[in-house]
């Protein structure tokens, strides 16, 4: 059976050119960049050149790039590092209700440690309103963190406007750009972003490496203390092969971004139009146009997403869902709930995230398979148009089910 990978927001296939760029830094140039000898300088040169490429991808200065182990660490360093270094200025942080768990859970941790966090609501398409942000800013607000593009529904935030408001109040804005970097153009200078998180494996780079852009003048407390690597902000011998691969992925993204995104937008729109036309009672989650080129996210009435992901997997398609049943916590996606969906609607969601290697033929195969599998699950479902889910069905209590649903 031909397998079709539509889960590029989870991770992407490492580009062959990236692998080729990395190999010499394991086999020959294996030195420690901190060493004085020639082995060390070779490694250092590879790392410097990667730092320049990553900086260029977002129009930053190479000295403003801190390499980390990935998006989660970058987010932790930005939020905790900034909060602890600047706590004398205030204890209030603003973020959104649809952030990745790397931001969300870091903010919850800070709430337990003396900080106050405001979670801005989003509209039904997942957008943060600049006016709502402006109203939430207080005299003790020290940091604003709003993601560039959402990992589930792909909605792209008006970062330029949001960062402009932050700057006018003298507050730095951090953006988790893990899903956006390498896929959409980012210019931290003109957009007035103060910190930005990236991850290599989301755009055809290797896993285990990411970066935090930290604008000059921003003070952070390190998470890792040690030998003082990365300007003292991230001690640990650098992951040189990973960093070199990250640099190569950034280079490739810069040269291919416009052609790839045009291709992906065409595939995405074909996917969205096709699904909404072919599957009754199907809906798009997120904004129709202000979304990542590779993301489509649907919900289907009367079925549950994990079952759909499994059935589509049996037909060769790799997909993901925001259904509670797919997670260890058994909570439905906080992102879909923040859009105003009811839990039973969030359970019926399906995310498709395409990549540069996907083809129109694959989208056509998907559009043939999906309606059959939705219909198969609906035949098993007790619910239908003639027997809809009623609010407050008498046996519909969470206690009876053994766990409670999350209050948002």
């Amino acid at each position: 059976m031909k397998r079709i990978y539509f889960d590029n927001s989870a991770t992407s296939r490492t580009d062959n050119a990236v692998v080729e760029a990395m190999l010499p830094f394991m086999k020959e140039h294996y030195g420690n960049p901190s060493s004085l000898h020639s082995f060390g300088s070779e490694a250092k040169r590879g790392m410097d050149s990667a730092r320049a490429s990553v900086a260029k991808l977002i129009n930053a200065d190479p000295s403003e790039i801190i390499f980390t182990s990935g998006g989660t660490e970058s987010d932790n360093l930005a939020i905790k590092g900034f909060a602890y270094a600047n706590r004398s200025k205030g204890r209030h942080i603003i973020t959104s209700a649809i952030e990745h768990h790397a931001i969300f859970n870091t903010c919850e941790y800070l709430e337990k440690n003396g900080f106050e966090v405001t979670y801005l609501p989003v509209d039904s398409e997942g957008l943060v309103s600049p006016e709502v942000l402006e109203r939430a800013i207080r005299s003790d607000t020290i940091l604003i963190s709003i993601m560039y593009a959402n990992n589930e529904i792909g909605t792209i935030q008006p970062i330029r406007e949001l960062a402009g408001i932050a700057e006018s109040k003298g507050i730095p804005l951090h953006s988790d750009a893990v899903q956006a970097a390498g896929h959409v153009p980012i210019d931290v200078r003109s957009e007035r972003v103060s910190m930005l998180s990236m991850s290599a494996h989301k755009f055809y780079g290797p896993k285990g490496v990411g970066a935090l852009y930290v604008r000059k003048g921003i003070r952070l407390e390190p998470l890792l203390h040690g030998g003082g690597h990365e300007r003292g902000l991230r001690s640990s011998t650098e992951n040189v092969p990973g960093i070199v691969g990250f640099g190569k992925a950034a280079e490739l993204a810069m040269s291919n971004m416009s052609s790839e995104s045009a291709k992906l937008i065409a595939l995405r729109d074909m996917m969205i139009d096709g699904v909404l036309r072919r599957v009754p009672r199907s809906y798009l989650n997120g904004h129709r146009t202000k979304r990542l080129p590779n993301n489509a996210n649907f919900r289907f009435d009367y079925i549950e997403g994990e079952g759909l992901v499994l059935r589509m997997d049996m037909r060769g398609f790799a997909l993901s869902t925001g259904s509670a049943c797919s997670t260890k916590s058994l909570e439905p996606s906080h992102v879909l709930i923040a859009l105003g969906l009811r839990p039973e609607q969030a359970h019926g969601s399906l995310r498709i995230s395409m990549g540069k290697d996907n083809t129109e033929e694959e989208v056509k195969l998907f559009l043939e398979a999906l309606p059959e599998e939705v219909s198969h699950l609906r035949q098993m479902s007790p619910y239908s148009d003639s027997n809809p889910i009623m609010a407050n069905e008498p046996w519909c209590s969470s206690e009876e089910h053994g766990h409670t649903t999350k209050e948002e």
Partner: protein
Amino acid sequence: MYSDKVLEHFKNPRNVGEIPDADGVGKVGNPVCGDVMFIYIKVKDDIITDIKFKTLGCGAAIATSSMITEMAKGKTLDEAKKITRGDVADALDGLPPQKMHCSNLAADGLKAAIEDYEKRKASKQ
């Protein structure tokens, strides 16, 4: 994550459907949590002669529904009542830990259907 047996039952579920003139119907679960099961039984001389299910839920919810219909068919009501959640999970070569509670509703569904049958029978007498 799932055993081959769970996946096999999920792929080819047994006894899907409704029984319009069922002698007992059991409903368990909660759409808010994502799993809802309806079980329909026909009973003759205290033996479950036919059983069907309709389930909204994940792979585990559908596989346990399918499995319990196979386990209960032809059993006496007393035997059927003794089937536990653990028995269903064992028959499927186990379930992931986070699914043991939430999606393993089938034994409760069967019990609810039998109770419904007994209640109807008592009200007729």
